[in-house]
């Protein structure tokens, strides 16, 4: 929709494959968390949060759509945003396992969003000066919107953490469940070194993970919350479990009922 093929595609096939993997992982992250958040529409704890979570979901699905559209241009094989988003088996999605825990309660939702939004922020920072102009331009726009997500989620993290009793207990339990998977957002991309060499990605994912930890450590220490432990990242964007299979069934149900439908 937005980008001419001439501005696209690194010269060598290995770098193009790595670029494909990078954009797909970002798009799948935004799509899966955006769809998960939309499950709160109509049933969030208070009306303002219903509106907020629905807005955030709409933002993320918009980011996912723009990234899938860019990927379709890179692939230049007749793919569309919809075909990439919907016409895959669950095992083919490349979102981070952090997003594979099911919706859970409100504390789980806040913990997941906070961990994801801050990690995504570090990743987007690594693309702010990308040599691949269409991605750099999109990231520039996306970062301006994500700022509001982080503001909102930080308010909620502090609110739950500082309220002794059930709010804090639930938040800590959520962080203990999700923490070991938080760093899966930084699962290395196949061929990542070629992306760094080409200036498409500013730093390896491991360096971006270190930046993320440096950003959130003072907040977690200040609120006395359990920091996400470092973990092995092998398979961090595959091996999706039962919770994702259920979600996949939900978000593909309309598409599978009539793949040829035009909207």
């Amino acid at each position: 929709m937005t980008t001419a093929r001439s501005t696209v595609a690194p010269a060598d096939p290995a770098t193009e494959r790595a670029l494909d993997g990078l954009i797909l992982s970002m798009a799948d992250d935004e799509f899966v968390i955006g769809f998960s958040d939309s499950e709160w529409t109509g049933i969030a704890p208070i009306l303002e949060e219903d509106v907020a979570m629905s807005s955030i979901a709409q933002d993320e699905l918009g980011h996912a759509r723009a990234l899938y559209e860019l990927l379709a241009v890179v692939r230049a094989d007749g793919s569309t945003a919809d075909s990439i988003a919907y016409d895959r088996e669950p095992a083919e999605y490349r979102h981070a396992q952090l997003l594979d825990h099911g919706r859970g309660d409100w504390a789980m939702t806040i913990a997941r969003r906070y961990l994801y939004d801050t990690a995504d922020g570090a990743r987007l920072g690594g693309l702010a000066a990308s040599s691949f102009a269409p991605l750099r331009e999109l990231v520039d726009k996306i970062r301006r919107e994500e700022r509001y997500h982080v503001m909102h989620l930080t308010t909620w993290l502090e609110r739950l953490a500082r309220h002794e009793g059930e709010p804090r207990e639930r938040l800590v339990a959520a962080l203990e469940e999700l923490g070991p998977d938080a760093a899966t957002v930084f699962t290395p991309i196949d061929g990542e070194a070629s992306l760094v060499d080409a200036g498409i990605l500013g730093e390896p994912m491991a360096a971006l993970e270190a930046r993320w930890r440096a950003t959130i450590t003072p907040i977690f220490v200040g609120l006395d919350l359990p920091m996400p432990p470092p973990g092995a990242l092998d398979g961090g964007r595959s091996n999706h479990g039962e919770a994702f299979r259920w979600l996949w069934g939900e978000f593909t149900s309309v598409r599978r009922s009539d793949p040829e439908a035009v909207w």
Binding site: E137, K141, R147
Partner: protein, 157 residues
């Protein structure tokens, strides 16, 4: 337009025509004053090309705006191509001075950081944010403690 009075087609005429088009979520001001029009040009091949910048990446109105732009420009009798671009980011600084004034008159606070928002009705700074997120992606909900009006404020992006 009649055939005898063929319209002048230059960039200024295109821009003037686009001043009739509004964002369905922000009908108070035109898409030109909103800063959504990035390029509006008549090319050497005779085609009119317009590039639009979405206010938010996920703006659900952009497809409607694209159609409205295309419809509005049909009267020039030229091929019309309307594209959506992220070449430069739409920012709230792109809203014109006239656009800001009209927003305020319509009860919307023009873009300001959350601690600098003023009531569009009485200009009070004694306002409280009810919700960072509002009825559209680009607006937040506020309440004026002086004139006791709820109002919406555009986000700074």
């Amino acid at each position: 337009m009649t055939a005898a009075m063929a319209p002048v087609v230059d960039d200024a005429a295109i821009l003037a025509a686009l001043a009739d088009v509004t964002d369905p979520e922000i009908p108070a001001i035109s898409i030109v004053d909103l800063g959504v029009v990035h390029r509006a040009e008549v090319h050497a091949d005779g085609a009119i090309r317009v590039e639009l910048l979405p206010t938010f990446v996920g703006c659900p109105a952009i497809d409607m705006i694209r159609s409205a732009v295309s419809d509005r420009l049909q009267s020039f009798g030229r091929p019309v191509e309307v594209r959506v671009s992220f070449e430069v980011p739409w920012t709230s600084d792109r809203i014109s001075a006239r656009g800001r004034e009209r927003l305020r008159q319509s009860g919307f606070a023009p873009p300001a950081e959350v601690d600098a928002v003023r009531c569009p009705y009485c200009d009070s700074a004694r306002v409280a944010m009810d919700s960072l997120f509002g009825p559209t992606l680009c607006r937040s909900l506020f309440y004026c403690r002086d004139c006791r009006q709820p109002f919406e404020s555009f986000k700074v992006v």
